[in-house]
Amino acid sequence: MTTQVREIPHKVNIATSGLLSWIMTVDHKRIGILYLFSAFIFFLVGGIEALLMRIQLAQPDNKFLSPDVYNQIFTMHGTTMIFLVVMPLAAGFGNYLVPLMIGARDMAFPKLNALSYWTYLFGGVFMYSSFAFGGAPNDGWFSYAPLTEKAFSPTHGMDFWVMGILMLGLATTIGSINFIVTIIQLRAPGMTLTKLPLFVWTTFVTSFLAVFSLPSLTTAVLLLLLDRQLGSHFYNTAEGGSALLWQHLFWFFGHPEVYILILPAMGIVSMVIPVFSSKPLFGYPAVVFSTIAIGFLGFTVWAHHMFATGMPTASLLFFSADSFLIGVPTGVKIFAWLGTMWKGKLRFMTPMLFSIGFVALFLIGGLDGIHLAVVPVDWQITDSYYVVAHIHYVLFGGAIFGIFSGIYYWFPKMTGRLLGESLGKWHFWLMFIGMNMVFMPMHVLGLEGMPRRIYTYGPGRGWEIWNFIETIGAAIIAISVFIFVVNFFLTMLRAPTHHESDPWDGFTLEWTTSSPPPNYNFAEIPTVRSRRPLWDKKHPELADWKEETA
């Protein structure tokens, strides 16, 4: 690997240690850690909300939560996990890793980066403050109009939700533009787009998805705010407004959003599996192309959330066909991961376990998703617990498992410490078992006619046993998260021992610098000749650049 000397830029650091150094920082690594840490706290909060719901539903006719509280809790659980957990966790990894992976010294706009983080944090805290001001939002994470109109939701909860969503959308837009410019402008010499690490690719595509889909959400919530505060009638059906306008605007954002949540996790898995298989990613161009294809197709399927709204047959079939098509690039990815592991030398450290768990669970989420694209079947299972099962196989089995894979994998990069392996394995196996205990029975409940978002159900419909098993599974997940937290603290109490090392025998540029990296990341900007620059350095006789001539 040849190197090129560039001047190390002078960074203004108002403080280098202590609380102020975190508050004032514009360093992408610190901002990344702030994102990850804040999002993890919200993950715990959202998890507690999930536990409260599972306690309420453990038995029929339970009085543990009042309907009013339950509705606030499920709304905040969904809103939290999507907007305050998975998106910012991905943003955290993106901030920390993208500059390191492309051989840059920081993001393109470090100050905007800080603005993005603080806007996100404020938006999240603002939304949660609604609990203290007359009640949290209570109309679900997709908040269908006209239920959200003042006539039906008179507390300020929905106003907090609207304002919070506006702030979070702003934060994501700023962050996404920053990623796009960084990836286009700041790549190390030689790192063409065909040599980008997969995680950078997924962050790139995700950023475009966010920039193009968020305006629709912003419009939707602004119109709602006008309805609620200034008496306009966009969604007010009593005055000639449209109930379905909200659904079109929301899902035009909402479906790309699903890919915004899952693509970064796919990027993580596409980095982890090759390293722990000691092989390059199988079919890199196909995986990149499938990512881009998912990005485009993601904008053409929004109305599959609306099959029961009374759409004309032609529209039903159009959106059904597009939804099926998304299965193809998704399948390509799954085969590519299997092809990468094929005849590799698999090492089952915790990051790899979570990535394999991702593949196993995401496949289930994909297959039950196919059922939802089959219009007549969707009429039966939409808005039932089947959908709850599906989104959690995709977003918990998928996104969260991918993110935990990333946490275990890059923890030594961020801290110079390896998370404990045996606690890590406990964490993985308990989470894997608990996850399946909670979400597999939800398929059965949906088929047995249990609608989602009900705070209670009567006995005698065959729903009790599955709900009870789910609640036990939720407790097992809670234990697994507790083990992770213990592992974190035990690890942080130890002295860092991996400053210089490359503990996983990694492939990409982030492992060529110290752990944690210096403020300027690289003393010398590397020149890149292949997709695995560090592999080439370790194995010059098998260097990728000899293979990648095409």
């Binding site: 309907p67 509705n71 109309d139 679900g140 269908y144 006209p146 239920l147 939701s153 009593a238 000639g240 449209s242 109930a243 379905l244 092989k279 199988f282 079919g283 709204t309 009374g310 079939l317 299965g327 193809v328 399948g331 390509v332 799954i334 590519a336 299997l338 092809g339 592991m341 590799g344 698999l346 089952f348 593949v359 196993a360 496949l363 289930i364 297959l367 039950d368 196919i370 059922h371 089959v374 219009v375 007549p376 079947v377 009429w379 039966q380 939409t382 808005d383 088929l447 006619g449 609608p451 978002r453 705070y455 209670t456 005698g460 419909r461 065959g462 046993i465 098998l542 990728d544 293979e547």
Partner: protein, 329 residues
């Protein structure tokens, strides 16, 4: 101890398995039957993919694990164009097959053009109960729908407030009940029976207690039911009943009608004309009997928090009113 526990858990699972769920996999109509068949086909296709892919994953994990002391590097395979084309083409074929089956079933469950509707019903979603009107028969009822067996029923869906969704799994998939929009669906059933339904679109506080039942009656039973519903409400006989009647047609009438033919009203509560011909009340949430009704009238908010009936019937009137209401058969 353990054995006892296993027996207990096993028993609970068995007991649950025997309970009738409102599932489209036990269809009671040609529509649900088509949906269930298609579901079964898609499930089986998905299971094949599941077993192949998860099987391959497990096999690779076992076979290709790194053995201790094996430091040889694996072959650095970057891809295989032929293989990648194959595993892109196969899913495309599968989804084409799925799409063709989807189109076929969408057509199969649509109302056949030659089948004229024999019965028109209007479903009106309220927070949180269902109004069922039979405009041609002059009947307005609530939370329990009666239809005759082997009849084509045309259903018009309307909402007076927010979006609801009409779902009787064993008879048909969902159709949303959207305010400001006239959705329609059709129902038909070839099996006499009682089928559970429930609102499937979150509609606020008591979404969970917005349930209903559909009774598929024999033609004779249906005719008898119609004849009874068309009768005017029971007229008060005694003095006590007179007093109750005055109250019900007075204060209660702000929200409830006891004219069985009064539909299309802006009344927020269900028609009471033949209340006790029904088996449940308050959005299908509770069995209709004297003691449940007494608890309800004493304190509706503790039974169904947030519902629109924010009144308490004074105890001196309670007995009179209940005594009258149970005559409303």
């Amino acid at each position: 101890m353990l054995r006892k526990y296993i027996v207990l858990v096993g028993g609970t699972i068995l007991l649950n398995a025997c309970q009738p769920s409102p599932t489209f996999l036990a269809p009671a109509s040609p529509i649900a039957n088509h949906e269930a068949s298609l579901y079964t086909i898609v499930l089986n296709m998905a299971l094949v993919v599941f077993i192949l892919v998860e099987g391959a994953l497990v096999w690779i994990v076992i076979r290709d694990r790194k053995r201790a002391g094996d430091e040889k590097l694996p072959h650095q395979l970057h891809g295989n164009m032929r293989l990648e084309v194959v595993w892109t083409a196969i899913p495309i074929l599968v989804v084409v097959v799925l799409f063709v089956m989807t189109v076929q079933t969408v057509n199969a469950v649509a109302q056949p053009a030659h089948l004229k509707s024999d019965l028109n019903i209007r479903v009106v979603g309220h927070r949180w109960w269902w109004e069922f009107d039979y405009p041609d028969l002059g009947i307005a009822t609530a939370n329990e729908l009666h239809i005759p067996v082997d009849t084509t029923v045309q259903v018009a869906l309307e909402s007076v407030d927010v979006i609801h969704s009409f779902w009787v799994p064993q008879l048909s998939g969902k159709t949303d009940v959207v305010p400001g929009q006239h959705n329609t669906m059709w129902l038909t059933s070839d099996q006499v029976g009682e089928y559970l339904g429930q609102c499937a679109e979150f509609c606020g506080t008591e979404h969970a207690l917005m349930r209903f039942k559909v009774f598929v009656d024999s033609q004779a039973d249906f005719d008898a039911w119609v004849a009874n519903q068309q009768q005017p409400a029971y007229q008060p006989q005694s003095e006590d009943e007179q007093a109750a009647y005055k109250e019900i047609t007075g204060a209660c009438a702000a929200c409830h009608s006891i004219d069985p033919a009064e539909m299309d009203t802006d009344k927020v509560g269900p028609n009471l004309a033949h209340l006790f011909s029904r088996t449940t009340f308050a959005g299908g949430a509770f069995d209709l009997n004297e003691s449940n009704l007494r608890s309800w009238l004493k304190d509706t908010q503790s039974m169904k928090p947030g519902n629109d009936m924010q009144i308490t019937v004074p105890s001196q009137q309670l007995d009179q009113i209940i005594a009258y209401l149970i005559h409303l058969k």
